[in-house]
């Protein structure tokens, strides 16, 4: 034990002198490479992580709430269904599902009685074909099929944030019967990435005809257009609850109820409590489970993130290995001298491992300082305007830890191998520089 401590002390003695009194240029370059490699990995991973988080949070904030409650045997109303329907103009979405949550008001009341449930909002959900005739002459009609939901405006505002995302016109009111509110991907304006599949730039005040799955046809005036940058929300149109009930011939029912809770992240606990209420024939999912069951884009992002992080780590690892390797190989004469005067090989090797660890730890620390001191505050103040939403950079702690451990491991290997090889070789060859 004493010998081990003594050996490590000597290793640190050698390493510290080399770090403090060796080439300042080499020291700076090595640490810089370390820091940049770390920043590179973290920046890319964080950007994708932030895009994913932004997208997921926008689903939670704008479209799903914290918990989605649907009838037990309802057909899944999914993001993918709507995406497909919006592209196929002639493919009319007719899978109108008559399964409802009955006695909606009572269910909402019961939900609100659970401690921690902050708000609920109920939607009727239907699909409709939209027809917009800009010239009102029966020619050049713009058509598309989208999801239509009913809202009780007051309750809706307590769960989703669409009222804060109005880019034109006004939010619906409870008594509006002739008005409709549409997302930007239906209107085709306000930076929508789906202009080709939209109603071609329909604006507030324009009239649009809706043909519902049950055959009902009605004409509405666009009251407002919102842009949440969330595809699920922006491909949806809203009618008032009264209007929708008249179309569907329903009363006090709902296709889905969205729930907002006090402690996001503990949705499963709330679901257990809701199940305890004894309301039958309901299916409850957290917003994450709802997304997981209906959309595979998060998985795709995860795969992209994994690949980019992996490549970043390999490239960073290779660069760091080369830089430290060259540094150590240049000191083979010194290693040989130490070995010649009787220093144990492991003490010499450990001194280079310690040096490499020092480079890695300082480089990573500087990288973290840059990320937390500059990158994150900068993008918080100036979020990137991406199609997926306004995205700031958030570092994922898991990625930080993985990248830091990986880079330190690579640095250790890069310090260990050349020193080990030289210390095993012939002293005289190394001293002569052969």
């Amino acid at each position: 034990m004493f010998k081990t401590i003594k050996n490590w002390r000597i290793s640190w003695f050698l390493a510290s002198r080399s770090i403090l009194r060796g080439s300042k240029g080499t020291l700076a370059l090595t640490i810089l490479v370390m820091a940049l490699s770390f920043i590179n990995i973290i920046f890319m991973a964080s950007l994708i992580f932030s895009m994913m988080t932004t997208m997921e949070q926008s689903f939670r904030q704008q479209a799903l709430g914290d918990i989605v409650i649907t009838p037990e045997d309802a057909t899944e109303i999914s993001f993918q269904d709507q995406d497909a329907s919006s592209i196929g103009l002639t493919e009319k979405k007719q899978d109108y599902n008559p399964k409802y949550i009955y006695d909606r008001d009572s269910v909402q009341e019961k939900l609100l009685s659970i401690p921690g449930v902050l708000a609920t909002t109920a939607h009727y959900v239907a699909n409709a074909n939209f027809v917009y005739d800009p010239e009102n002459d029966g020619e050049n009609e713009e058509k598309g099929a989208w999801s239509v939901k009913s809202i009780n405006p007051e309750k809706e505002m307590t769960v989703t944030g669409i009222h804060n995302k109005m880019v034109s016109g006004k939010y619906l009111e409870a008594n509006d019967r002739d008005y409709i509110m549409v997302g930007r991907d239906i209107s085709g304006g306000f930076g929508s990435p789906y202009v080709e599949e939209s109603l071609g730039g329909i604006q507030v005040g324009d009239k649009v005809k809706l043909i519902f799955g049950n055959g009902v046809q009605r004409e509405y005036t666009i009251k407002g257009i919102f842009a949440t940058k969330n595809m699920l929300a922006d491909m949806t149109a809203f009618l008032s609850e009264k209007e929708m009930e008249s179309i569907l011939g329903a009363k006090n029912m709902a296709s889905e109820i969205l729930v907002r809770v006090e402690n996001p992240g503990q949705e499963r606990l709330y679901i257990e409590k809701i199940e305890g209420l004894g309301i039958s024939d309901l299916k409850m999912k957290s917003w994450q489970d709802f997304l997981a069951s209906s959309a595979s884009f998060t998985d795709s992002f995860m795969v992209i993130n994994l690949i980019l992080s992996g490549i970043g780590l390999i490239v960073a690892g290779a660069i760091i290995f080369i830089v430290i390797y060259i540094n150590v190989v240049n000191k083979r004469k010194q290693i040989a001298i130490l070995k010649a005067i009787g220093m144990e090989a492991k003490i010499i090797v450990n001194s280079y491992v310690l040096q490499s660890m020092f480079y890695a730890v300082i480089g990573i620390s500087l990288g973290l300082l840059f990320i937390y001191g500059f990158v994150i505050p900068y993008f918080l103040a100036n979020p990137m305007n991406l199609p997926t939403g306004d995205t700031s950079i958030t570092a994922n702690p898991d990625t930080l830890v993985t990248a830091a451990i990986s880079l330190i491991s690579v640095a250790i290997l890069a310090g260990f191998f050349p020193a080990w090889m030289v210390s095993r070789g012939q002293i005289l060859d190394a001293m002569r520089g052969e």
Binding site: I10, R17, R21, I341, M343, E344
Partner: protein
Amino acid sequence: MSLMIEGKNIKKTFPGAVPVHALKGIDIAIKTGEFVAIMGRSGSGKSTLLHQLSLLDVPTAGEIIVDNQDILKLSERQKTLFRLTHFGYVFQTYALLPEFTALETVSIPLMMAGVSHGDYTKKAKEILELVGLGHRLNHRPFELSGGEQQRVAIARALVHNPKIVFADEPCANLDVGASTLIMQLFAKLNKDLGQTIVLVTHEPDDEKYVDRVITLDDGLIKKGDGVQLGKTLE
């Protein structure tokens, strides 16, 4: 006097397209406390012999006994430990580490021997003062002259009281004045401390400092030097 080094039929061949037979069967004996110079023309094998005797290289054949131990039978780790406890080295190019001060350089062998911080600093200072560098303790190699650097190397070689100091052309890179100082220092250490010293040199003038000269010629000991297994040393 007892024998410190005894080499029998030491051969060293460097492989290659044309193998070089650097040592062709050397028998050598060096007594404890002796100051021996190995001399000869360039390429005669004198440095190669020193490397074999000092465990810096491994002979192709032969036997080397140092302090009653067959050193060629030691494992790599044992050889390292043997070098630390038995040998001190002075190289032609000084072989100092650029990042270490004179005091730190000389302290390293003591650190490795497990001497405490206070003791190794005290001992290193003493030995540096002995070689005339008491005023240069905190200077690094680039701040020292060639002669001073070599004296730091000598101090490092001596600080842990080795059985033998091997010096491979220690004055080759020094001017006459510095060379004289170094050789006088070796002679003083040999005389005062009874230090066994094996010196490789090509300077005929160095003969006056040593007890005995072993002359090599083409990988063999030249006749007439009286070094046949120590028989003539008694």
